[in-house]
């Protein structure tokens, strides 16, 4: 089939490294996590002199507040500076009865997986031997090799 031919012609398995499935999974997870980010750039205030208050950080040490007398506000900060993952773990849903956050997640689809070229986004019939990404033509495969494929590190 065409898939084989192209694969043999443009990628010599003896030369190109092949990513194992754990690495491929890590890549996918990282890609999906990136889609949850609020910002990709740095906080424009981060590079400013001390004067300016920084973005609240969950892991910010409480050194300065320890020195002051504890106020209601401090109580708030400590109790309420938890990220999503911590809150989810604290909720301890494994012991809860009935539907909950975890059980409510949609099940996998019963429809077959669809495949799109990682470069141009059009339907694809071929899989990159090295990394498992999809591509639609030799040209896109070339672009893929040059830009992502093994160049992406996890």
């Amino acid at each position: 089939m065409a898939e084989k031919k192209i694969a043999v012609r443009s990628q010599d398995p003896g030369q190109r490294r092949v990513l194992d499935s754990a690495t491929r999974q890590r890549r996918l997870t990282r890609q999906l996590e990136a889609l949850e980010k609020d910002n990709f750039q740095d906080d424009p205030h981060a590079s400013l002199p001390q004067l300016v208050k920084r973005l609240p950080q969950f892991d910010e040490s409480n050194e300065s507040s320890k020195r002051r007398k504890k106020t209601r506000g401090d109580h708030f900060k400590q109790r309420f500076r938890k990220n999503f993952q911590t809150l989810l773990e604290e909720e301890d849903l494994s012991v809860s009865e009935g539907p909950n956050y975890l059980t409510a997640c949609a099940e996998p689809s019963k429809f077959p997986q669809r495949h799109f070229c990682a470069v141009c986004g059009f339907p694809s019939n071929y899989t990159c031997v090295s990394c498992g990404s999809r591509y639609c033509c030799v040209r896109c495969l070339g672009t893929h090799h040059e830009t992502r494929c093994l160049k992406w590190t996890v």
Partner: protein
């Protein structure tokens, strides 16, 4: 006594007194490259003349309220003299929270509403429950409805029967407007122009050019055509925030299919991105999220309901939340549910006039309802009985 209705979304706060109109206000803070000393809150966004590279500070993470410092800044602003001038001693609040909210978040919420702000009474409720209330108010002969709420963080499908939330049927798809915008941003950055720092601008591009395809593979074919035959292709003129304040699509007759534009405008050329991005709501597995899309999840959720109710759900599907505004959204949901549902059932999918504010409208109606007093927890009640009374009273 007045009642403030606040649908506290992760992206927009939909807020207003029950006897007035609703306002839609960003529920976040912002920082800009050009005003390097100020943090802008909520609708102060409008004061930023050049929002390129806009930096977001959001109170929510994955749809749950975690960053209380930020949330309180936004609320202080909304409740304060610049906006709603709330007289807490004389005001009740109806406020929304996500499905399966965490106990500690609920308790923080109680404390802040009753102890910090000191509202006279409060009703915590899911936005979908308000939508269901709004729906049954208009269609009072219907017994059931199934609400789709597709907002910033995720999409929920929630069956309601006679105002009762059917917990076993609730389904969450982890695809929302944020993911769509970020995905569009990545795609554009990889294929043509680095826009990773331009969430604000690309979010607008998404709302201006994306649509839900009615025939996905057909549109894929069209989007591959060269030149004028490519009816999917659009050129989007990016804002420069001096002469072009807002981005827009080039009118088709001004599009240059053969070469580059001579004008100095910065252009994005969009083809399959236009419909492949919203497609994530229908096929999350396209980007590796192994979950059902909206129509399949709807049918699955209805199948989990008692059989005698199923036909009622199929003819009362209600679409709410910002993502349902993509052109073609309603028709696609109808088409796919129709194809999956048993032929003998009637299928009806309703897209309200304002799907973003539909829950708020339900909250307004609820506040005017004679039973409202029975539903709220008063401050006295809370002071006497604490979190327990809220847990008992709220269907949450």
């Amino acid at each position: 006594m007045t009642t403030l209705v606040l649908d506290n979304g992760a992206y927009f706060a939909k807020i207003g007194y029950s006897h007035e109109k609703v306002s839609v206000i960003p529920n976040s803070q912002f920082r800009s490259k050009t005003s390097r000393l100020k943090t802008f809150t909520a609708n102060q966004l409008d004061e930023i003349k050049d929002p390129s590279g806009l930096f977001y500070i959001l109170p929510f993470q994955k749809g749950y309220l975690v960053n209380w410092d930020v949330q309180r800044k936004v609320w202080d602003h909304l409740f304060g003299k610049e906006m709603f001038k709330v007289d807490f001693a004389d005001t009740n609040i109806v406020i929304t929270e996500p499905y399966f909210n965490f106990t500690s978040i609920q308790e923080s919420m109680n404390e802040i509403l009753f102890e910090e702000y000191q509202f006279q009474s409060a009703l915590r409720i899911n936005a979908g429950s308000l939508s269901a209330h709004r729906y049954f108010h208009e269609k009072n002969s219907e017994l059931c409805c199934i609400v789709v709420d597709s907002g910033f963080s995720f999409t929920h499908i929630i069956p309601y029967c006679r105002g009762r939330k059917m917990k076993e049927g609730i389904c969450r798809i982890n695809v929302g407007g944020k993911l769509l915008t970020n995905h569009l941003k990545e795609t554009i950055s990889y294929r043509q122009l680095h826009v990773m720092d331009e969430t604000h601008v690309i979010n607008q591009v998404k709302e201006d050019v994306c649509y839900v395809s009615q025939d996905f593979y057909k549109d894929m074919e069209i989007a591959q055509f060269k030149g004028e035959d490519n009816m999917v292709m659009k050129d989007y003129v990016l804002p420069d925030f001096s002469s072009i304040k807002k981005g827009f699509c080039k009118p088709r007759e001004e599009m240059n299919f053969t070469g580059k534009y001579k004008t100095g405008e910065q252009i994005l050329r969009l083809t399959n991105e236009r419909f492949a991005v919203p497609e994530m709501l229908f096929h999350p597995s396209d980007i590796g999220i192994q979950e059902m899309g909206i129509p399949e999840a709807l049918v699955n959720s209805i199948n989990n309901m008692p059989e005698d109710m199923q036909s009622h759900f199929y003819k009362n599907i209600v679409l709410t939340g910002g993502n349902t505004l993509f052109p073609g959204f309603r028709d696609r949901v109808y088409k796919e549910v129709r194809a999956l549902a048993p032929v003998e059932y009637e299928v009806s999918v309703v897209l309200p006039q304002n799907p973003i504010c539909y829950p708020w409208e339900g909250g307004k109606l609820l506040a005017e309802n004679p039973d409202f007093e029975e539903m709220v927890v008063t401050r006295d009640d809370y002071e006497e009985n604490g979190h327990y009374v809220c847990e008992e009273k709220f269907d949450i």
